[in-house]
């Protein structure tokens, strides 16, 4: 949490390069370790979703349990743009972000003067409203079946274009989006805005008494977080070639909460990234062994909450700290490592 230390914060950090290297080579090794190309697409999309979600949960301290609504708004918007307006990647993603931000901004008007359990309960209620509308508003959303046959528009970059209809190409596209989101959010959480929302999380009253409009900061964090969720949702509609109400359900909203917590979103910027990877690996690895994989994942979640609420990133930080203090007190190499997973 102490990034205001004297060192400058760069646009791109070592951890980012490691992540991009691991993910960037994934299509080369995924199949040899028993994974498949589409899994990478899913993981990366949910990393984007979870990173945006953690801006709210980990950085602003606001537990939203209805964030699937904004992911879903993004998915529907992307589909509707393709069906009703034009087959266009950029227009689709723009629509996804805009609709989710608008929905988020509206909901945030009702939530931003709340916190804690009241905030959580109201976020569930609003999430359910969106989910219900998605199911009932047949003419627009396609009801329970959702929007089908959403095309995957090509990636048009002016001088040429790149088809995204195969999963490897799509993977590199969503990875590029993830890179942009990570660099942007990393910058944001270390900006004055990022410092203020973390202050709101720690002490709302004092933040107001030093002169900040707490309501507006919470509103902004919520809206940005919803916009990022919408971006992820738009990519998901493209990946799935459909948009359906299930992603807005309470349990889909619960998944992103669990990912973020298991990964360690409260103590690390990287928590949601780790958590999303673990979630999908657990789904596929446990899922290949047992149909009740979600039960086991749920138990794992409970174990983390009970024994290591700071999640995987927290456990990692502890381990590095213990190692370095074992070697020599205040060892600089160790301390630098420990700082790596910090926000």
């Amino acid at each position: 949490m102490q990034q205001t230390k004297a060192q400058p914060t760069f646009w791109i950090t070592r951890q980012m390069l490691v992540l991009f290297a691991v993910l960037g080579t994934m299509p080369l090794w995924a199949e040899s370790v028993g994974l498949y190309q589409y899994l990478g697409v899913e993981i990366v999309i949910w990393m984007i979703f979870a990173l945006g979600f953690n801006l709210l949960l980990g950085y602003t301290g606001l537990p939203s349990f209805g964030h699937g609504a904004f992911f879903g708004l993004g998915a529907y918007a992307f589909g509707l743009v393709q069906h009703e307006l034009a087959v266009s990647l950029w227009l689709g993603l723009l629509g996804a972000v805009a609709l989710a931000a608008a929905g988020g901004g509206l909901v945030a008007c009702f939530l931003s003067h709340r916190r804690g359990i009241y905030f959580a309960l109201m976020s569930i209620a609003f999430g359910q409203v969106f989910w219900f509308v998605a199911i009932k508003w047949h003419a627009v959303t396609g009801g329970e079946d959702g929007l089908l046959n959403i095309p995957r528009p090509a990636f048009d970059f002016g001088v040429g274009h790149l088809a995204l209809d195969n999963n490897t190409a799509l993977f590199y596209f969503v990875l590029a989006v993830l890179a942009v989101v990570i660099i942007g959010l990393w910058r944001l959480v270390h900006s004055p805005f990022g410092k203020v929302i973390q202050a709101v999380k720690q002490n709302e009253m004092r933040t107001a008494f030093v002169g900040y409009n707490v309501w507006l900061f919470k509103w902004s964090a919520f809206t940005i977080s919803a916009a990022v969720a919408g971006l992820a949702g738009g990519l998901f509609a493209m990946a799935q070639e459909s948009a359906y109400p299930d992603v807005m359900s309470l349990h889909a909203s619960g998944f992103v909460v669990m990912m973020t917590l298991i990964g360690g979103g409260f103590v690390s910027f990287w928590g949601p990234v780790i958590g999303a990877a673990v979630f999908f690996l657990a789904r596929d690895l446990l899922g290949s062994m047992t149909e009740t994989w979600l039960l086991w994942y749920g138990l794992m979640f409970m174990a983390v909450v009970v024994f290591k609420p700071e999640g995987i990133a927290g456990a990692w930080q502890d381990m590095v700290k213990r190692r370095s203090s074992g070697r020599e007190r205040g060892g600089h190499a160790g301390a630098a490592l420990a700082a790596q997973l910090k926000r």
Binding site: Q2, T4, M205, R206, G211
Partner: protein, 247 residues
């Protein structure tokens, strides 16, 4: 005209009247003490004057403008800062981050989402300077939660000072400090007094009588006595309530 003036403030919680009819005026450049027994309504009075609660009746003005019923952030931005009786810090932030967040320069950039707050910037220098002033030099990177009680008290004041206020409210700054800590705080406030208008709630009479230009005694939600330390020593209320003996 007084820099800050509260007129006929009335505040109740449910049917408990906490502030009956409080009028106070603080002149620019003075140090003002507020004393009174526990539960007298002193903290509530601060809360009303700094915007946490709005009064049922009465008005508050600062620097010639009516600020009655304004929100804490609006009052803060006009140049009024306060510390809290029960510590109110950003516990996961380092000492310097606690102060930095209150520096006006940072506050004006609150919605900047791109720029980074780096060492060497003028905001950082100001924050470090405030920490030095309250005696926390060398402790900049320590987490607020890891500081000792006395250091946290000092940080509580530093966060208020960082705002570069015209008027500073301190709610029981010595509470919980030992003799040594109190003596150090005495020196600090004696120094701050030179550049700020200060209002301090304080139980430690020797402390207050040694520093304040004027003192108001609040009891049962009213100002029962007011004056210079010398006048108060002679006051029958103060003597009757045994407060004068300590001074």
């Amino acid at each position: 005209m007084a820099l800050f003036e509260a007129r006929h403030i009335h505040k109740r919680f449910g049917d408990q009247v906490v502030l009956e009819d409080i009028s106070l005026a603080f002149q620019e450049g003075t140090m003002n003490g507020i004393m009174g027994p526990n539960g007298a309504g002193k903290t509530t009075c601060f809360n009303v004057l700094t915007g946490r609660f709005s009064p049922e009746r009465g008005s508050v003005s600062f620097a010639g403008a009516d600020i009655t019923g304004l929100k804490p952030r609006e009052i803060a931005r006009r140049g009024i800062a306060r510390s809290f009786q029960i510590m109110n810090l950003f516990d996961d932030y380092s000492a310097i981050e606690n102060v930095l967040i209150a520096v006006p320069e940072v506050r004006e950039k609150g919605f900047n989402m791109v720029q980074q707050l780096n060492g060497g910037s003028s905001a950082m220098d100001k924050a470090a300077e405030v920490l030095r002033k309250v005696g926390l030099a060398g402790r900049e990177q320590e987490n607020a939660a890891a500081l000792s009680y006395g250091e946290r008290r000092a940080l509580e004041i530093a966060v208020a000072l960082a705002a570069e206020p015209r008027l500073l409210f301190l709610d029981e700054p010595t509470s919980g400090l030992g003799a040594e800590g109190t003596a150090r705080l005495f020196d600090l406030i004696a120094e701050l007094k030179e550049s700020y208008t200060i209002v301090a709630i304080e139980h430690d009479m020797a402390f207050l009588f040694g520093l304040a230009d004027r003192i108001s005694v609040i009891h049962w939600g009213q100002v029962i006595a007011q004056g210079t330390p010398d006048e108060l020593r002679a006051n029958k209320w103060v003597q009757a309530s045994n407060l004068g003996k300590l001074a």
